[in-house]
Symmetry: C2
Subunit: 322 residues, 2 copies
């Protein structure tokens, strides 16, 4: 059997702080058109695709508010929704969501008829609430966003897509195997992920090069796709945003963890791959047949504790003197 | 800071069913000597290192029993323990453990003075209880072994090793992120793993080549080491055991998920690497600072369910006709 879906990764180059929304939308529509011209059914855009990655700055409340969308769609993003419906193409897109007085780093997946099929709010917010003194660029997601409150809700794609079980993550979530497993436990066949990842260590260290951080990004997606027997599309906003570097490396990964397509630039770039959803069956029915092989009675620590707790140290008398 | 430990992976070539225990021990002692000559403090041997990988056959009870050790150490393995103590080298070794009337696929870590520092019993038993009709080679671990009952107990290495927090897994466990995370939540700095992995799909499929299965083996260790900010040593019994192929690919992986050494043969082969335990700190204190970033309130499914449960399908009326 084969259930084929054509999926595109629409990597975006940088959005500068001064870029007009209309200019960003025009680039996104052009990427969507390229993907549709190449037969894509579903196009994956990055995290916070409509704006610059504003959590890198300590901003006044008024300026922060301007980056958030109070409704989705809305007139400021309508050009993308309209073109997608016209081309009968669906898409994943990340955006800053204002929900009442709460703020989320969210993503939605839109079907080929414009229906919103699923929504996700980022659970694993990196960075800090308070800025790091003296650093030119910050990582203030914990300041500007509330933690996602929807869990990891898998959902069905439409018949035109062969009815895949879909899941969404946002950026840092892709490094957390718990997030993937929660989707794996819902039978996910295709994970959609957008990201903005600093090309240097955003946590203030200096030991991680751009190459190492791109390797980490790809590695996490490969292994978690393999361990959950799912396809994955992981898409960057890349390049130099107002002096701050973002890695590229957008990729489409199969259920063996093999990269089937990967971006070569740090700019706007479309990757398209044919995704056979039934290629997930080998893993789901054998090596990762969860019902046959998982042992949750030994996994309690995963939910019972948050941080690491070291094992008790043997008393001095019992310790090896070697 | 740096806390340096010299670690060796002692990959073993095949143990044939007809091989005398004394011949196997002699090879293990030779590998230990090579590692000690190269300055290793700790040598990692494979899963079921003292025997052939007997779960590939449907055997009579009497023959199965002969593969199990009722005590550890015992006279049949004393040569290895004696030489290790003499060389002031510790080791991890996998073996079939008879504990009363229970059978486990176990591993122990022995300190440089011969003390048993920790014991682990394999939690994730692959394969089946009943043989697959018509197959030349089986995977009958679920028939011959009881599921491990010790959980994932991290433990301290001695001062001579810079007091690392150590963890052990056996073979298939390395593909299960839950197992790694339970050790990560104890602050593990060095994971010790032995394996015997079929070079073809042991679950009866024909889609996985030897190359792909070696890739899977390495990928799972790389990503789980990265996501738990730990070093890992993953060691094969490799090559052709009585007509059944085992992958090699033994490797030493750093806390970035980078392979620092990997076996090139399918035979007896020693890898040695200098392991700076403090290289775990970058990950543990920043990206994978669990206390700061994990959200266990959303991980409930990991312990509340065993197998996958698909999300509810939208009613026909709500489904996209697109």
């Amino acid at each position: 059997m084969s259930r084929i879906l054509r999926v595109a990764a629409a990597q975006m180059g940088p959005n500068q702080r001064a870029d007009a929304r209309s200019a960003i939308l025009a680039r996104m529509v052009a990427l969507l058109d390229q993907a549709a011209d190449r037969g894509a059914d579903l196009v994956v855009f990055p995290e916070l695709a409509f704006t610059t990655f504003f959590p890198r700055w300590l901003l006044e409340t008024g300026e922060v508010d301007a980056y958030f969308e109070a409704a989705m769609p809305n007139p400021e993003v309508a050009a993308l929704f309209d073109r997608a419906r016209e081309r009968r193409v669906g898409f994943y897109v990340g955006y800053a969501e204002l929900a009442g007085d709460r703020h989320f780093n969210s993503a939605i997946t839109v079907g080929p008829d414009g229906t919103i099929l699923g929504k996700y709010r980022k659970v694993h917010l990196p960075g800090s609430v308070e800025p790091r003194p003296g650093d030119r660029f910050q990582q203030l997601e914990k300041r500007y966003f509330d933690y996602g409150d929807l869990g990891f809700p898998a959902f069905w794609g439409p018949k035109a897509w062969q009815e895949p079980v879909l899941g969404m993550l946002v950026c840092n979530d892709r490094r957390w195997p718990e997030a993937w497993r929660c989707y794996g436990l819902q039978g996910v066949e295709l994970m959609l992920i957008g990201y903005n990842s600093a090309a240097y260590d955003p946590n203030g260290g200096t030991t991680e090069s751009e190459g190492l951080r791109t390797f980490h990004s790809t590695l996490a997606v490969q292994a978690n796709a393999y361990m959950n027997a799912t396809w994955a599309v992981s898409v960057a906003k890349a390049g130099n945003e107002d002096g701050s570097g973002l890695i590229g490396g957008s990729c489409i990964v199969d259920p063996n963890g093999v990269v089937v397509a990967q971006a070569e630039t740090l700019g706007d770039e479309v990757l398209v791959a044919e995704v056979d959803l039934d290629a997930c069956r080998q893993g789901k029915e054998k090596m990762f047949n969860f019902a046959a092989h998982r042992r949750p009675q030994h996994y309690g620590a995963i939910v019972d504790q948050v941080g690491a707790v070291l094992p008790p140290k043997p008393a001095a008398a019992e310790r090896l003197s070697a």
